[in-house]
Amino acid sequence: MAGPTRRRSATMSFNLLVLTCLGYVILLFAVASAAERSAAEGRARWLRSPVIYTLSLSVYCTAWTFYGAVGYAARSGLEFMTIYLGPTLVFVGWWVILRKLVRIGRENRVTSIADMISARYGKSNLLGIIVTLLCVSAGTPYIALQLQSIAQSFTVFAADTASTSLAADRNFIAFWVAAGLALFTIAFGTRNLDVNEQHPGVVMAIAVEAVVKLLALLAVGVFAVWIVAGGPGDILARIDAQALPEWHIQPGRWTGLILLSAIAIICLPRMFQVTVVENTDDQHLATASWAFPLYLFLMSLFVLPIAVVGLEIMPEGSNPDMFVLTLPLHLGQDGLALLSFLGGFSAATSMVIVASLALATMVSNHIVVPLWLKARAAQKRDTGDMRLLVLSVRRLSIALVLGFGYIYYVITGGSAALAAIGLIAFVGVAQIMPPLLGALFWRGASRTGAALGVTVGTVIWFYTLFLPSFGPDVILSARVMEEGLLGLAWLRPYSLYGLTTLDPLLHSLFWSLLLNALAFCLGSFLSFPSPIERVQGALFVDIFDRPGPARSWTRPAAEAEDLLPVTQRILGQSEGQQFFRAQAELQGKQGYLPDITPEFLEALELKLSGSVGAATAHAMLAQTVGTAVVSVEDLMAVASETAQIMEYSAQLEAKSEELSRTARKLREANEMLQKLSVQKDAFLSQISHELRTPMTSIRAFSEILMDSEGMSAEEQHHFAQIIHDESIRLTRLLDDLLDLSVLEHGQVQLNIGPALLRDLIDKSINASNSVQADRNFRISRNRDPEKIEIVTDAGRLTQVFINILSNARKYCVSDDPQMRISVRQRDGMVEVDFTDNGTGIPRDKQALIFEKFSRLTDSMQAGGAGLGLAICREIMLNLGGDITYVPGQGGACFRVSFPVELKPCEAAQKPQHKDAEAAE
């Protein structure tokens, strides 16, 4: 049923279209940045799924495929299928080459197809530049084509609306589209400088666009088949009725186009980008090998129906390249038209994004950065961080590539039919194919050959297809076109050497590829590859079977006598001889010398491999047998094995270092434990002594008093007094021990409050006066600086002061004992110095005095267990301060320091006890 044809009204305004596009682009930005974020957080495994990979491959389907295929079908019938058949053949039948490409790409961290070629041919920068220039030449018109199709689709939409003045300005649209895409590509393509140049955000956005364009085309197709036409049967009938004479299948042209698109799917920079560079797992290719052809099949399914319906319904003179868009519009299906528009927009933008990213990578890596480095080297400046530079260059290159595309678009004004530019670009990038195939499969391929081939091919492509495509008299004059360069007829661009039977496209493809391949082969045969080329060549060609394929021995020319010593050197004397005798026996011979048969050599090589590795074994035998020269491949295999061994031994070394580190730590911990154990024993022994001593007196005098016969009351009282005093001593000792224990374990309850330092000192002096009260002990102090308001545990601080003062009263040896108390304040800390005029503490004992039970004199004089200063130190640590002995002050000098204001957190941060410190 044919729908009613009605001219569309201005329901769909141009502004709405722009808004839709903006919204769509914002969506893409959101998708891309979400993907980038997920990838950065490493939590998005699904991002790296075969489905996403396959969808990203759809960047092959550009606006040319989306819009142009229908136009192509309208003009030439089924021939449009060739563009899908080539890639399908490659993915289904030849995915071995893709797998090899992907593997090589990943192992060599290849960043672009130019990088791939350059890396294979001895990391030649010249080749990199040639390929880059070729790709930019072919890619720029292609990008222009996308800009054109977007601009065109805009104007189709806006054709009848009032806002034509703005809409008609296609250049204006193309400019903003180019600018927006440049922004997107810069944002997600140059976010950082990865070693592997992967861009999960871009890939994700491309995958979304792939879905959009497929859905759009399917929707238009379904509309055409089931709504406009009467279903599949009706469509087939219409196709038969429509069949034009040009629709005949021309086998030669078909073969050529299939070959061309097959080459393009491998060589197009943007395809290389998504297939190889962005690939995260070569297993994804297995899925893509059927899923991508399926995608292409779906994309092509409705092309012919849409073309046929379009030819029937659309008015005479309508551009078939726009049927996908104009058909729904013409039939008033604005929503479908909008979807179709978005599909075309997706197809165009995804191509532009990936292509400009790929081209920019090449331009920056092979042209700008090398030039810059050369310039810099000439200036002899030191090289700083390259990353920012490369990123800036990359960004600039993206803008540049898109700028070229825009300028190309403006200059050509969208003259040529869409499909033409696409195929011209295909022929251009096809020039990369010979050196690429050589890179993968031919070790003899050389840089000279590759450079020669690509150059020759590119020049022919330029002359026979690219330049003429601008039309006569734009670049090539009509005269050259007609009569050939310099008037030589065999140099006519469209019929080199008088070959006139082919159309220009196939003509150019034929000559450029033929001469390219010839030059490549000749160049490779005639030049001698440099060592690095050989190394790279072997690396690329043998990517899947390193460390080397099985090599058999063909023409042995050595004596067993020569081989025996070699074998003995490796296997040891007896085992080597045993092996030789066993082999001889196998051959039915007596003695140690078997015949040198290929079988024997292989067995020997296998045996030796077990000891020295396959490559070394082969190289050693090769030298001894003398039939083979040690090839570069052999040497490389040896090197790679050696590298493995070195790696292994480095690991072993690291392991053993780690072991010895662990052992050292264990030893230290053990020593520490032993030390702690000794300390604990000494401490227990000390406690035992300190407890038993008063108990001894108590028990002895108790027993004496129990048998008090004939004892004077005075004596009895004296003994009771001793018992009493010793009991008190015992109690005090226990108190001190408990106090120390609580302080040491930080379980002490501090009673923090404000106090005046002067009051505390007064109190301490009064309290300590009772110690040896008969001794005249003069104390000098300056009461003014003592007037400090402090916040601390006043009771504990006083305890420390009293202890120091009492010690001084007990131990200060002087005829006129004196004590000076001085107070200082600095940095929020208070320092109180107690200096006496005695003999001080001998240097060798100064470190000991704060230890437990470190009584320096005899107990009679001390009357304590030697815990006083240990307790003082613990108290001061608890109060966020310290107590130290200051040597060289005339007499003994103790400095007590503590914060003016003790905050509860500082109190909690009491340093761990010394034992615990030592144990760490």
Binding site: S685, S688, H689, R692, T693, P694, M695, T696, S697, I698, R699, A700, F701, E703, I704, I722, D725, E726, T857, D858, S859, M860
Partner: protein
Amino acid sequence: MAKRVLVIEDEPNISEALRFILSRNGWQVDVSADGQRAMKEMQSAPPDLLILDVMLPGLSGFDVLRSVRAGEGTRDLPVLMLTAKGQGADRAEAERLGATRFMTKPFANAEVIAAVEDMVGP
């Protein structure tokens, strides 16, 4: 004539207790808190018995014992060692250096008397 015992002990209350119980049992008791000085006195006039504390300031009881066993006139002197540490290690050391008896503090007075009389004879 009363037998003479020398007590080397730095705790005044303990030496006083020893002095009391020994003299009540008929001994002539000399007390010293300083090993060094006591050694000199012993060289000139060796006692019949030595009661020796291990933990002494300056020379330890073991040092004194070593000199006693090395000294001409004191080689065979009966020595009762007293220790408040009460550890096996001290006892072994005392035996190795030739102490006649070893007792840990606190002691029963009767035990001290019995040991002393056993060592010297009533």
